[in-house]
Symmetry: C2
Subunit: 416 residues, 2 copies
């Protein structure tokens, strides 16, 4: 098994050497060919997917998981559309970010180059296979994919189709690789292949991400976990606050940029609480609150320490009335995961303090935390949302799939 995983990573590394300086046109044509081939082979993909879905039902997977796994011809068309969109984005590779001349005449340029080989470890969604491969290729990287065992037939079919289309369009063999071994041990081998893989990006739940972080010797970009807050300040426009809280909690509660807790300044708690609690209830949200919150509505359950610390990823919210901006900042510092944090306020100085003092990938004044997203930020697409500080923080687009290389133009200079 080890040999099989290593062989794929080796092939990827060889491909990466050529991919690194492939013209953008060839990469774009390959992405378009991959899209066309997905459409042409929709039937084949759906057949493979049916095997996975049937097996998943027999295994008793939850309805939510089956839904993630399920492909339809519309979903295949969406994947193809995604590749066409990536083809239309500007190529980050070759950009000279800056160039300067030293007193000794050396001209030094900082250019963008691909990372090399990117490993993606993900769970049940077969569309990640296409999304991740497309973004990595556009940024000049070879990719080693390792999807969840539930989607193995879908992923194998998809990878065969897009890899063949890619090489047909002039990409080197080995640019797209799927580890077909569903044994978990294959992941552990992948995590240690420092000689072949330059970076690993896990995409999935907290369990998967922790396994990767704890066991990888290859550099990792951590993604995903978000215990996000909205703080409704004493100077908030309460109508804006209501809209932002409902949007940040309810628009898509299962994702990392949805909020898990609501903090309310005590000066507006009396006015704000009844309305927001009613609106949350109406939206089907279970509310767990501090004593002051519970005094405002008898149906609110008591919030525990765990409620403030964890991620519900569901229609549940923890609510706390705080005495001051400082208490809100302390609460966020203590419980937050440095993902996305928002304040609602009309007070300039307090807005600036929140922006300066909250340490998170994204800090908002008077907007929903749900905007933390590569598409919403205008990056065109995203490979994930980094929650670590190294390399990339927040939504990662094509640029975050590259690194830099210094190119130096001399005229015979030596160091004195």
């Amino acid at each position: 098994m080890e040999q099989q995983v290593i062989a794929k990573a080796q092939k990827a590394k060889e491909a990466a050497r050529r991919l690194a300086y492939l013209p953008t046109d060839i990469k774009n044509n390959a992405l378009l060919a991959m899209a066309d081939s997905l459409i042409k082979n929709t039937e084949k993909i759906l057949e493979a997917n049916e095997i996975d879905v049937r097996a998943g039902r027999e295994k008793g997977l939850s309805r939510a998981l089956i839904d993630r796994l399920l492909l339809t011809s519309e979903r295949v068309a969406d994947m193809a559309e995604g590749l066409r969109m990536v083809a239309s984005l500007p190529d980050p590779v070759g950009e000279v970010e800056s160039m300067w001349t030293r007193p000794n005449g050396l001209r030094i340029g900082r250019t963008r180059v691909p990372l090399g080989v990117v490993g993606i470890i993900y769970e049940a969604r077969p569309n990640v296979t296409v999304d991740a491969a497309g973004l990595c290729l556009k940024a000049g990287n070879a990719v080693v994919l390792r999807g969840g065992s539930e989607a193995i037939n879908s992923n194998t079919a998809i990878t065969n189709i897009i890899a063949a289309a890619a090489t047909g369009a002039g990409l080197p063999e080995g640019a797209i690789n799927l580890i077909e071994i569903t044994d978990r041990a294959a992941v552990n081998i992948m995590l240690k292949l420092n000689d072949y893989i330059d970076v690993i990006i896990p995409r999935g739940g907290a369990g998967l991400i922790q396994t990767v972080v704890q066991n990888a010797t290859v550099p990792v970009i951590e993604t995903g976990v978000g215990n996000c807050h909205v703080f409704v300040d004493r100077y908030a426009d309460l109508e804006a606050a209501r809209r932002i809280v409902i949007n940040a909690k309810c628009q898509r509660p299962g994702v990392c940029n949805a909020i898990e807790s609501l903090l309310i300044h005590r000066a507006v708690a009396g006015e704000f609480l009844p309305g927001i609690l009613a609106a949350l209830k109406e939206s089907g949200v279970e509310v767990r609150g501090c004593q002051r919150t519970r005094d405002a509505a008898d149906w609110v359950k008591p919030a525990t320490e765990e409620d403030y610390a964890g991620e519900f990823l569901d229609l549940i919210i923890a609510v706390k009335v705080v005495d001051s901006l400082d208490e809100a900042l302390d609460h966020i510092y203590h419980y937050g995961t440095k993902h996305s944090e928002a304040i609602v306020t009309e007070n300039y100085t307090r807005a600036m303090r929140f922006l300066n003092e909250v340490d998170a990938a994204a800090v908002y004044v008077n907007a929903s935390t749900r905007f933390t997203d590569g598409g919403q930020y205008g990056f065109g697409a995203e490979i994930g949302i980094s929650t670590q500080k190294l390399h990339a923080r927040g939504p990662m687009g094509l640029k975050e799939l590259t690194t830099n290389k210094y190119i130096v133009f001399g005229q015979g200079q030596i160091r004195g």
Copy 2:
């Protein structure tokens, strides 16, 4: 012991929260106060250093190691000067690298913020204590230092002096921390403190770096290993080539940006070899070569596979005559460590191919690889040279000790 290491890291994390938004003036004043205090306490530092040097001599440390360990009043003055220089550099924190407005009116800014807590693991040089602390503080980071056991008395004295000066100048307690436990187990504890340490930078030999990479769960920036080459092309200005080769090999052979191998195009080997071999010999360099090199001088020893693959870090060089630019590129791809690579050529197309196709932190045309250095690049100072692709690649200055934060100015926007 574990509790002691964790306690220091915790203190650092608390300090980092305040350091993150401390005005530049306060940080600069602290750096200047640290410099003054080093000078004022020179005697105390030299006394502590004497204990280390004596113990080192008794332990039989090599002369080179003793020289690294040894402090003099000049060296203390140099450390102080280094801090003053860092104070004079622009502060990367707070820089808004870009800001744009989305169609929905959201204004999104990408700003530079500190990494948080930086762990530095290093070996015998006590000056690293001051250099690393100064750079980390200037970029708004708290630092957890762990120096080699040989320098423990020097490091403890220095840290006490600069930490007291820093807090005296308004920096939070815990901004500068030294792990005083010389047991190796303390390093292993540090490597897993993901809750408190944001990044670890090892500075030292290949053994130390590999220990850190293999055992850390905290993100690591790998530094240092360099198997660098100069390729003398068939179209080289051979006089420039001679100067560059001698400089890259001999100016300071023990550092990572010195070359270990010389590649020569066969078309110029006959003309170039006799002169360069004589010049190397004259500079005291031992030459190990391929058969064609040995044909040019009978005193050249045969080069082995290991000679081409390893780092001598000494006055030894491996020489190979190659048949083509492609063979040179393949050799560098196969044996290089992606640090610094140079071509000497007057041919434009071949120079451009080398710049494009060689994957390394720094690629040179007609200049010595010895320029890969933060000072030489104009960064003012460097915390190390990254040889990984994640986060930073090549010389790392103050900017590489920061990460980004998105600040988002809304007017009540919610996601549709």
